[in-house]
């Protein structure tokens, strides 16, 4: 059976469901941009990771690929539970001011976000013109999530929100990975592991910044490097 036949056999519903889950992940990326409170941002990130786990599990079920269940489990345990827990602990431990400090207002950020989604659609359309609409939609969604994660890293001042932006960006990568067929489990485990290491590094980093500057506003790093005019 060729893969095209499989697509027909699986029917539209499975793909529609996959895309709907992807859309929920995208909406949560917008939610991350919209939120103003740090705890709510972390909670939303945790939800996003859980929905990602759901997406992976659904793909495992549809593609009949048991190793994706492992990916789902990794996403759920590490990103859905462990990382948010660690972040919350950090926020409490460091006594960070609980509002999100923005470099760009909420409204303009959201408009920029929609622009980025449009951009990723424009980019994906010609690249995948030969592929079926199913893969296109998935790719467009994943790419939007990645770009929105980047946007969040750019437009938020606080280091914790930057980490959340980074993690959410990584969620987009995983979303693209589980959608594509034949992504080996090793890759995902190594991604998850590297994220965990990054998390630990960030944690140490935060304590160092705060010891030095009494704040997590990364603007202080710029003065430290002598970049600020």
């Amino acid at each position: 059976m060729t893969s095209a036949d499989q697509i027909v056999a699986l029917g539209h519903v499975s793909y529609d469901m996959a895309h709907l889950i992807g859309a929920v992940i995208l909406m949560m990326s917008f939610g991350l941009l919209y939120q103003r409170r740090l705890t709510a941002v972390i909670r939303l990130y945790s939800f996003q990771a859980m929905v990602l786990a759901l997406a992976a599990a659904w793909q495992a079920f549809v593609q009949d690929a048991p190793h994706l269940y492992a990916s789902a489990l990794i996403a759920l345990l590490f990103k859905g539970i462990a990382v948010p827990f660690a972040l919350n602990w950090l926020v409490r431990r460091l006594g960070i001011h609980r509002t999100v400090e923005t470099a760009l207002g909420i409204g303009p950020t959201m408009i920029a976000g929609v622009g980025l989604v449009a951009l990723s659609i424009v980019l994906v359309l010609p690249v995948t013109a030969s592929a079926a609409a199913m893969t296109r939609e998935n790719l467009a969604l994943a790419m939007s999530v990645v770009l929105l994660g980047l946007l969040m890293m750019i437009t938020r001042r606080n280091a914790v929100t930057q980490v959340v932006g980074f993690m959410s960006l990584e969620n987009g990568l995983i979303l693209a990975a589980v959608g594509a067929r034949g992504m080996p489990l090793v890759v995902e485990i190594s991604i998850a592991f590297s994220v965990l290491v990054a998390m630990a590094l960030f944690g140490i980093f935060f304590f160092r910044i705060r010891e030095r500057f009494d704040s997590l506003d990364i603007a202080y790093l710029e003065t430290f490097r002598g970049e600020r005019r």
Binding site: H12, V13, D16, M17, H19, L20, G22, A23, V24, M27, F30, Y34, I106, G107, M110, I111, G113, V114, V117, A118, I121, V124, L125, A133, R136, E137, A140, L141
Partner: protein, 315 residues
Amino acid sequence: MTAFFFGLLHTVLVLAVAPLLTGLVRLPKARLQGRQGAPAIQPYRDLWRLLQKESVIADSASWLFRIAPYLVFVSVWLAATIMPTFTTDMIMTPAADLIALVALLGTARFFTALAGLDTGTPFGGLGSSREMFVASIGEPAMLMVIFSLSLLTHTTSPANMIAYVTGGHIGIEVSAGLALVAMVMVAIAENGRIPIDNPATHLELTMIHEAMVLEYSGRHLALMEAAAMVRLLLFMSIISSLFFPWGMAFVDDGVAGVALGLLAWLAKVSALAMVLGFFESLVAKMRVFRIADFLGGALLLALLATIFLYVSEAV
């Protein structure tokens, strides 16, 4: 002929059911607050009592203040008669489409806001100003939802939209999902529900809709309240008919089909009322200037719904 009959039935029903729905929303709220709460038919009693009372009109008010409640109520009622609820076989369906429906709701808002300014009180002006502010972003969001739905279904007429959706032309669409979320956000704002406005508040600085109708009393207030109730039912019908059109009857379905559609409609809007009551108990009202972010989000979601259609090749 059936179209005329069902249209008439629908016109009467929306008026008859609307107060009950408002009563139903209050039930779960009362329970969650640990109160027993008034029975669901309380809004009927309220309207009746208001109708019996004399209307007190401010000295400074002009004649516009007296006719505004009638215009507002009729505009909302007319909008409600356009939206198919249990059957699409209604005489009024081809008379106007969803754009006209938005405009009719706009007419109602226009005159409510004018009435708020007419008495020349600070509170009335405050309510009008804020109501128009909310609508200035909420109405475009709703138009964009209609835009994306019309791209999906190639029509702006609600009846044809429903027929297209139930005809199996489209599956579960990402765009429809995004449009649904945007539509729910708009519906919350347009009906003045928490977190945008609190229909139960009379705390001076937080009210929006209540501030506009502050000077009304007697039958005029009854009409304004009834208009708000019909509007709530209308928005719930829009959500249930466009996004969950299960069980609706079409032109050639007989009386049995219509009866089934009627039951399905009542079940759907009651469920939505319960959800709304539950949701309102969970969230807190937001600051007035956060509303722009909230509705701006709805507007952008609706825009996103439109551009996502191009990926799925539905256009």
